[in-house]
């Protein structure tokens, strides 16, 4: 833990210390001379020893302290590295705390590897969170010299797709698989953890259902291209007897429940449709549509040569997808391919989450990240309190009755 000043220029206010010093010194020159008739027997010293004489020393000290504190408060002092150095033992949920503690050196701070880093004495945290994110957070918060021991179960859930890169070497202790692993908990957020890439999650299933109710609105000049999309939407239907997709001109009203909209019109996106997207829907746009103001686009579909066929991005809670070529068989032969409906469905649905279950042995964090600067703890409230107390003391000293006249 170390102290730092967030605004060191505030220390220039220390120059104000001169003011009380001058006030307490100046009285000396105003001192009245003493009538002394026996002056002829006073030996004039060649160099009268002029020691700086300060009056009211207690008051002066109080005033100097007050000004110093004020200047310090202006410089915004802060404590860096809220957590102490030493050895830290982190136990990931699912690992055995007793076994981890037995291996750790004495005096180590034992915490759960969970949000807030609760003490190991508490019960195992229920909430699942990304272990990689927690590791990075702790690594950034700990001071440089701290040693980190992490006890993990044999298999880790909720990790990033790559090994975390930390600023320090981590003592990575993988516990042998003794007990059957806890059943995977449902992840708290859609992007955090998934049991595996194969099994579709309820979210994906819902997406799939939403895509199947694609609402198609096409401008007259794009009717030709709209046929391919409509055909793909019909192909998604589970049976031939199902209702045909809702297709119509641009002026046709959009059903409220529409979660997938193919808006095949040139020019910018109308505000009504845009609001739908921001509310959570996905919109499919032709190459003629302009996407200014919809945010950055990333390529989502490449052909065999690697050329981008479709791009897309997020908007509010929803998404937008746009073809980069005209929907003709000449410009985009893929529309004739048998897998076009599946490709289109994949384009409109959520991107599959990265694999998140990993064998702990292979997830030893790498070393080499830049050391994080721990978030400083602002000391201004404490300083303000001290300044107030000192001000009260100064006033009391300055106004007490048994005081000399000035200053």
């Amino acid at each position: 833990m170390s102290a730092a000043l967030l605004a060191p220029l505030g220390l220039a206010a220390l120059a104000a210390l001169l003011v009380p010093l001058l006030i307490h010194l100046a009285r000396r020159d105003r001192q009245r001379p003493i009538d002394f008739a026996a002056l002829r027997w006073l030996e004039p010293r060649p160099k009268p020893h002029r020691r700086p004489h300060l009056d009211e020393r207690a008051l002066l000290v109080a005033r100097l302290l007050l000004l110093t504190l004020l200047a310090l408060a202006l410089a915004r002092p802060a404590l860096l590295g809220g957590r102490g150095a030493g050895t830290w033992l982190l136990v990931a949920p699912g690992a055995d705390p007793a076994a981890a503690r037995a291996q750790a050196p004495k005096g180590a701070q034992a915490r759960w590897l969970a949000p807030g880093f609760p003490n190991l004495g508490q019960s195992a945290p229920e909430e699942a969170a990304s272990i990689s994110s927690l590791l990075r957070e702790l690594d950034a918060d700990l001071p440089r010299g701290a040693r980190l021991i992490v006890a993990v179960p044999a298999a880790l859930q909720g990790v990033d797709a790559e090994r975390p890169r930390l600023s320090r070497d981590v003592d990575w202790r993988v516990q042998p698989q003794t007990a059957p692993p806890a059943p995977p908990r449902p992840p708290s957020s859609p992007t955090s953890a998934h049991a595996g890439p194969q099994a579709p999650t309820p979210d994906q299933a819902a997406d799939q259902a939403a895509v199947q109710t694609l609402v198609l609105r096409a401008a007259p000049e794009l009717e030709a291209g709209a046929r391919y999309v409509k055909a793909a939407a019909e192909a998604w239907s589970p049976s031939a007897t199902a209702a045909a997709p809702d297709a119509g001109p641009l002026s046709a009203p959009l059903p409220n429940a529409a979660r997938a909209i193919a808006w095949l019109a040139p020019g910018p996106l109308p505000v009504a449709v845009r609001d739908r997207v921001a509310g959570g829907a996905v919109v499919l746009l032709p190459v003629e549509a302009t996407v200014d103001g919809l945010g950055p686009a990333t390529p989502l579909w490449r052909d065999a040569e690697g050329r981008v066929l479709a791009e897309g991005g997020g908007l509010g809670r929803g998404r937008w997808r746009r073809f980069t070529r005209p929907l003709t068989s000449e410009a985009m032969p893929e529309v004739l391919q048998p897998d076009f409906p599946a490709r289109l469905a994949a384009l409109l649905s959520n991107p599959p989450p990265p694999p998140a279950l990993v064998e702990a042995r292979a997830y030893h964090p790498l070393v080499g990240a830049a050391a994080g600067s721990p978030s400083p703890q602002d000391l201004t409230p404490i300083m303000a309190l001290m300044v107030a107390v000192l001000f009260a003391v100064e006033r009391w000293l300055a106004t007490r009755p048994q005081r000399a006249d000035t200053p």
Partner: protein
Amino acid sequence: MPPAGPPPLLPPDVRHRLQGLKLRARRAAGSASGIHASRNRGAGLEFAQHRAYEPGDEPRLVDWKLYARSDRLFVREAERESPLTLWILLDASGSMGQADGARPDWTRLDAAKALAAGLAQMALAGGDSFGWATLAGDRPHLLAPGAGGRHRDRLWLELATLKAAGGFPSAAQWAPLWSRIGAHDLVVLLSDVFDPKTIDLAGRLAGAGREVLAIRLLTVEERDFPFRGAQRFRDPETGEELPGDGLQLRADFLRRFGEARARIGAELDTRGVRHVEYVLDEPLDAPLRRLFGGKA
């Protein structure tokens, strides 16, 4: 009875303690009692009254001729013809205005005024006449000797307005003193006697046949030098200033000032001037008691 003046120059307790004191001049006493035997054996020369004999009266004071005529015992009382004229020389130069920091309303001049009032009181009690001169500025201010309560009131009135200012008059301005102060007069000088001219005046008066007494008034600060830290000292007469650290100056000043006091005392002794020192924190009657209380 003293007039009910605003500031009592002489505190009542001091006045009370002064009652037992009498002005005494060595030469005057010698000349009054005479050397040869005389038919007049009374205390004085001039007959004043007869009064009835009381037990304890000296038999030689009884007027035996009157007893032969009247068959009753009478005591012959003589009024002593006072040979004594008291001159109070009051130094009113600037240095007399100095007071102590601890008691700023009690200057050297205030003490001198009170002593002058005390001396006048003593002269009044003894039936002696007294005059005074204030020595400051260009020429001395004199009032001719006189006796009685009215003369004392005149002194009090003048003292009430007297301020300390200027320097001690030079020798050329002493001429009125020579013409007014007669031989065998008793002269009491109230001064700090720092100025060599003061010593010179007292010495010359003593050398010319006057009996000169001096009360040297010192302030407490001059005796103790209680200053601490940096101070500026100023001579009230010349205006000269001297900065210095009180503690550093102290030892040296006390040594040099002690030597100077001894030297002034020795010089006054040499020139026939009796003198006492009075420091402002002493009781007012102390110097008078030392001058007139003991066996003359």
